[in-house]
Structure formats: C-alpha cells, structure tokens
C-alpha cells in the first residue's frame, strides 16, 4: 500500500512535468501602444561617453515629438550581449523594445523569433535609399528587412612608413606583391613579422578568398552550400596561408593568433604590416608606432584593385515582443538616421552606413579615407543563414587555416573538410 502510493505520487509528478522542455511561446505582441516607456539596449563601447551624448540628443527630440513617452537606455556590456539578448527573447516581459546587435547575428536572431519584420517601414523611409548595399544585406534575411544598419566596420592594410622607406620598398599593389614584400621585410628584419597574420583571424583571411574569386558559401535563404572547396576559394586560402612560416610569420606563433593579436603586434612595432579595422585606429595610435604608419586598402589580385572586405558592424532592431511597435520603429529610424550616424562618427569614429554621410566623414577625418575607399569598392558579408553562428562558434574556418599552416593537412584536404562541416551546419537548419 505504502509503496504503491509512493509510486503513484512519483509517477504523477513525472507525468505533469514530462511533456517537453520549456518554451516561452510565441512572443509577438498584438498591442501597439502610443504612449508609455520604451526600453532600449545599446552596446557599452570602450569610452562610451560620446555615444551617450549622440544618443541623448536623439532621445530628447523623440520625447518632444511623442508626448507621454519616456525612453530608458541601458548600455549593455559587449562581452555578455549574447546571453542578455537570448534572455530577452526568452522572457518577453522584461525584454527591451529596441536593441543594438552585431550584424553577423541577424539571421540567427530572426530564426530565434526575436526580431520584428520592418520591411514596409524600411522601404518607406526616405533615407534608406542611400544605405549601402552590403549594410542593407546585413539586415536582410530571405528578402525581408529586420532592422536598420547603425554603423559599419571594415578592415584595410596598415603598414610602417619608416620601415618601407628604410628598406626602399613600395606599398604593395597586388596580393602577390604583398606576400613578396612581407617576406622581404622579414628577411631584412628577422625580429619583425613582414605582415602579422593569424590562424584564428577569420575576417582578415576572408578578403584573400574573395579577391581570388572564391566565396564562403553560395545560395540564398535557407539553402546555402559551402564554396570553400572550390578552385578559386582554394587559391585564396593558399595565398593567405603562404604568409605563415619562418619567412614571414612563424606558424608556431601566428597559427593561434586572432585579429586583436595581429593588431597588437603591429601597434607594438613587432610587425611591418597588419590587416586592421577602422575601429583599430585608436589602439594603433596608442601604441609605439604612432606617426610611423599609414593605411591603404588591402590590394586585390589585379594591380590597382581592392580586395573585397568583410563589412562588419552593428544594426538596430525592434523586438517582436514589443508593445510599442510604431514608436520603436520611429525611434530606430531616428537613431540610425543620417544625422545621428554623423554625430556617432564625430564622437566615436564609427563609420556611417550611408554612402553620402561616409564621404562627408572621410572629408573631415583623413584616416577614414582608405576605409571609405574599401567600402566603396566592394564589400561582402557572411552567409545570411542561422547556421553561420554555429559555423563561427565551432571554429570551422580557424581550424581549417590552422590545419594547413601547421602542416597537418593540405589546402585541398582541409578546405574539403571545412566545407563538409559547413554543409552539415547549413543542412541542419535548412
């Protein structure tokens, strides 16, 4: 009796709990209130004050326009943004109405059901026609728009003017020249990397693949297929990995380096060249090479061409769970407007996503010129697939580069394996 009663109780508990793991249900809200409090999450940048100033002036105008509204902005730390935003998707009640997010996360967040489709509002927005195509691509998934580009980040070639002058070298105009110049410098200055490269520096390696006509993946929407094992992509991988070795950047040290490590090596004077972003400018200025370097667009394969760069950056997006949709979309447009992006550039140096605003910025600040040129030439974006987050976090590309530079696998074998892993990830979400 006693035992069976206990068994029944246990079984009952299990039966009530055993249905399925928790989900938060469909988060979209059908309310569209015109007053109340709007909550905004923006990223907390290093030296955030100028950003706050630029944002505050937008908010003041917004609150004046919409009576009875109040906007609270929270600056969330960049390191924990993924957890914060996931938590916001899980719990719509405590979620903000508007968020800033990294543009490689767009497809994943859309799949998670977190971002609202703002295609109509974006099309009707008069300023959107000047948004550059890659920035537009970074908010687009399956032909629908899920936010407004906030700023872009792009990489170019930093080089040491003093080293080049002393060795009588010209600035490389093709990737072949880049490689030979790097090796010449290392031969003349053995303590220095010709160009600092990293096996884990995916965004520094991508331009080599793209410049040789390769692609990371081809396809549209849900059905991507990896193109890493194509002949063109392999040529690019070959070019990038040829920079690792005792004649430039020894694999024992450089295989493990990421983007920040290469910039640090350049800033501390350990490298004659590096691929760095407009956002690396401050770090290099603070280093030992201040006043002894210049920046040019990373050369392509043909003389005079520019290698397509990866267009990083952040977007603003309205959450699907918002109960103030109209207001949130309006605030998004204001924060991402030409004027606000211009102010953000003046304060923080983040490149505007509008081609015309960027040109004005380049006229004001000469350091922007090579980056603006790179953006104007051609930029590319990672596949707009939710699988990209998985490919990125399971280190498919760094593993491929490291396998090649450590001599474990040939370019053909490593790229075939990486392509297989990518296809598996694409297949799993398709």
């Amino acid at each position: 009796m006693k035992l069976s009663a206990r068994l029944v109780a246990v079984a009952a508990v299990l039966a009530t709990a055993a249905c399925a793991p928790q989900t938060s249900g469909d988060s979209s809200s059908d309310k569209d209130e015109k007053t109340g409090t709007l909550r905004v999450w923006l990223f907390q940048e290093v030296g955030n004050k100028p950003k706050e100033k630029a944002v505050d002036s937008v908010l003041a105008a917004f609150e004046k326009e919409h009576e009875g509204t109040d906007v609270t902005v929270e600056y969330i730390p960049v390191e924990t943004r993924a957890q914060r935003i996931k938590a916001a998707f899980n719990d719509p009640k405590s979620a903000p109405d508007l968020v800033e997010y990294g543009n490689t996360d767009t497809a994943g967040y859309v799949r998670d059901g977190g971002l609202a489709d703002v295609t109509e509002e974006f099309a009707a927005w008069d300023e959107a026609k000047d948004t550059d195509p890659t920035a537009r691509q970074s908010v687009t998934v399956d032909g629908k728009v899920y936010g407004a580009p906030y700023f872009v980040g792009v990489r170019a070639l930093y080089y040491r003017t003093d080293v080049f002058r002393e060795l009588g070298l010209d600035v490389p105009r093709t990737q072949a020249e880049l490689i030979s110049t790097a090796k010449e410098i290392h031969a003349a200055r053995p303590g220095m990397y010709g160009i600092a490269v990293g096996g884990a520096y995916t965004y520094g390696a991508m331009p080599f693949i793209w410049a040789h006509g390769g692609e990371l993946a081809t396809g549209k929407g849900g059905s991507y297929a990896s193109a890493l094992a194509s002949a063109d992509a392999r040529k690019g991988i070959e070019a990038y990995t040829s920079l690792f070795g005792d004649d430039n950047c020894p694999a024992a040290k450089c295989a493990g380096m990421g983007g920040n490590d290469t910039v640090t090596a350049f800033a501390s004077g350990k490298a004659a060249m590096a691929i760095g972003g407009d956002f690396s400018h401050a770090a290099v200025e603070a280093g030992e090479v201040r006043g002894k370097y210049a920046v040019v667009p990373l050369p392509g394969v043909e003389a005079g061409s520019i290698a397509p760069a990866f267009a990083g950056g952040n977007n603003l997006g309205v959450l699907r769970s918002t109960s103030h949709r109209t207001l949130a979309v309006d605030l998004m447009k204001r924060l991402a407007s030409k004027k606000a992006q211009g102010a953000l550039f003046d304060g923080m140096g983040f490149l505007p996503t509008f081609s015309d605003v960027r040109e004005q910025a380049a006229a004001k600040e000469p350091f922007v010129k090579p980056f603006a040129e790179t953006l104007a030439a051609d930029t590319k974006f990672v596949p707009a697939s939710p699988a990209w987050a998985q490919i990125d976090s399971s280190l498919v590309l760094p593993t491929m580069f490291q396998e090649i530079v450590s001599g474990r696998k040939s370019v053909a074998a490593a790229s075939a394996d990486a392509a297989e892993k990518m296809d598996e990830a694409f297949g799993a979400v398709g």
Binding site: K2, P21, D112, G113, G114, S394, S406
Partner: protein, 305 residues
C-alpha cells in the same frame, strides 16, 4: 525496500525501524532531489528533443528527436578523439596531482614548523587562486616572447602552446598546481591522525620512508585516498577554464580540446542546447561508471568504506 505482508496486525519492531530512517532522511532527500535530481532529469529530457535558442524563445516548435542527438554525437569522429584525449589527460592529471599532493603531505610531517608554514601558505595561495588567474599567469610564464621560463632555459622564442603534447603538458602543470593543495592538506590531516606508535614501530623495524608509506600509511589512509582520487577524477575530467584560457579555446586546429570545452564550443556557444545536454549526459554516465567501478574494485579487495 520491504513491503509488509499484513498491514492489519500490530507493528512489529523491524517495521518501525524501516520507516523511521526514511522520515529522518526526508528533508535531505527533498533538497538533494530538488538540487540534483531535477536538473539531471531536465538535462536528460532536453537531450531527447531538438532544442535550440529558436525553440526556447518560441521561434520554432519543439520537436521530439528520441536518441537523435546521441546518434549525431556518436557519429562525430571528433567526439571520439576528444573523448580519448580527455580520458588520457584527466588520467595524467590525477596521477600527477596525487603523487605531488601525497609526497608533499609526507614532506610536511618531516620538516620543522617554519618551512611547514611556508609550504602550507604557498599551497593555500595556489589553492585560493581563481583558475582563470592561475591560467593566465602560467601562460605568461611560458610566453614565447616575454616569458621568464624561456629566458631562464635559453629557449629563445619557443612556443609551448604550438605542439599538442607540449600544450597539454603546460595545462597539466597548471591543473596539478591548483589542485594538489587539496590532496596535500587532506592527506596531511590523515597522516596526523595516524597513531604515532604505529609509525614509531615501523621505524624501529628499520622500514624506509617509502616502505612506511606503502605498507603503513597508504593502507591506513585508504578511505581518504579514495575520496581525493574520486574528487580528482571528477575535477580533472571536467577541466574547462585551464584549457579554454591557456590554449585559446582548444589549441591549434582543436588539438587540445577536452570534452567540456568541446561541449561548450559545439553546443552552448551556438545555442544547440539539446546536443550540449546529450554531451552532458554522456559525461555524467562516464563519471558515474568510473566512480562506481572504482568503489566496487575497492570493495572486492575487502575494504568497507
């Protein structure tokens, strides 16, 4: 559990005995059940579904997968390589930790008060250091460009983290460094509790230091050694921070991945919670098997624990 055959008769003494202990245990069982049982139950449950961020936040419906996650995991060649590396690495760490910890515990009983205090403080310092700090410091010591170790050994700019075994060795040093104090302090306390006359008798019989340890101390300290061994096995099998920090998330081309870092990379960083849960369940089963197997082995040798 014995079930009474005849509930109508007056309670016999044995029956009361069988019920009362459960009553006393109930509060502890409820807490344990809530804190241990429920999470494990959830872990097992999630591992049977297709459960990613999209399912958690309601972007897509949850789908029952059965053993699909386990099948995917066992098909993955890398999983087996990582599992093998984890077992080997954990075994090496356990052996080194126990050897260093026991040796220093014996040393503690042999030295004077001041050096003993110094050794204790040094060990406690290592113990108190957070794993992430310890890893960073060790990494700096062995840094290719600025590390003092290379300078002292005259190795130039040799990179310790490039080779697979050299990187594992470096991490092993850190793991041993931060986990030997627990073994040392526990074993030292055990040695102190060993009656002095036993040791005196051994030394009167002319037993060597090693002989005393093998034939007198180790058998008497057996229960303590069992506990520290199981603890070390569990800790070292689950090592995460040291590998993650010192090898930059798994080493060159993933050569230094261990199961926990692999689970994080494959599953949690990309929000594939169900796959991560499956890896968690597999780890749990392995650790349970190791622990139970070890306890059984001891029991067969006639030790009651």
């Amino acid at each position: 559990m014995t079930v009474p055959m005849n509930p109508g008769t007056a309670p016999r003494p044995w029956r009361r005995r069988s019920g009362t202990p459960w009553l006393y245990l109930a509060p502890a069982l409820v807490v344990l059940g809530g804190l241990l049982g429920y999470p494990i139950y959830q872990l097992g449950l999630i591992s049977l579904f297709h459960y990613t961020q999209a399912q958690v936040s309601g972007g897509e419906p949850t789908r029952f997968e059965g053993l699909g996650n386990y099948a995917a995991l066992f098909r993955d060649e890398q999983f087996w390589q990582v599992l093998l590396a984890t077992v080997g690495f954990a075994a090496a760490c356990v052996v080194c930790t126990l050897a260093v910890g026991c040796a220093l515990a014996v040393l503690l009983t042999r030295v004077r008060a001041v050096p003993r205090l110094a050794l204790m403080l040094a060990a406690l310092g290592a113990w108190a250091t957070p794993a992430i700090t310890g890893s960073t410091v060790w990494l700096f010591l062995f840094d290719a460009d600025f590390g003092p170790v290379n300078r002292v050994l005259g190795l130039g700019d040799h990179s310790w983290t490039y080779g697979r075994f050299s990187a594992f060795f470096l991490v092993l040093l850190e793991v041993v460094w931060c986990s030997f104090p627990f073994v040392m302090v526990t074993v030292y306390a055990g040695i102190r509790a060993v009656p002095a006359e036993v040791l005196e008798a051994a030394s009167l019989d002319g037993a060597s230091q090693w002989r005393v340890w093998r034939s007198v101390l180790a058998p008497m300290l057996r229960p303590i050694l069992v506990v520290v061994t199981i603890q070390s096995v569990i800790w070292d099998f689950k090592v995460f921070t040291q590998i993650y920090v010192m090898t930059g998330g798994g080493g060159i081309a993933g050569q230094n991945l261990v199961l926990n870092v692999y689970a994080y990379q494959q599953a949690f960083a990309s929000s594939q919670y169900s796959l991560g849960a499956a890896i968690g369940v597999v780890m749990l089963l392995i650790l349970l098997a190791v622990t139970l197997g070890y306890l059984r082995l001891l029991r067969r040798q006639g030790e009651e624990l």
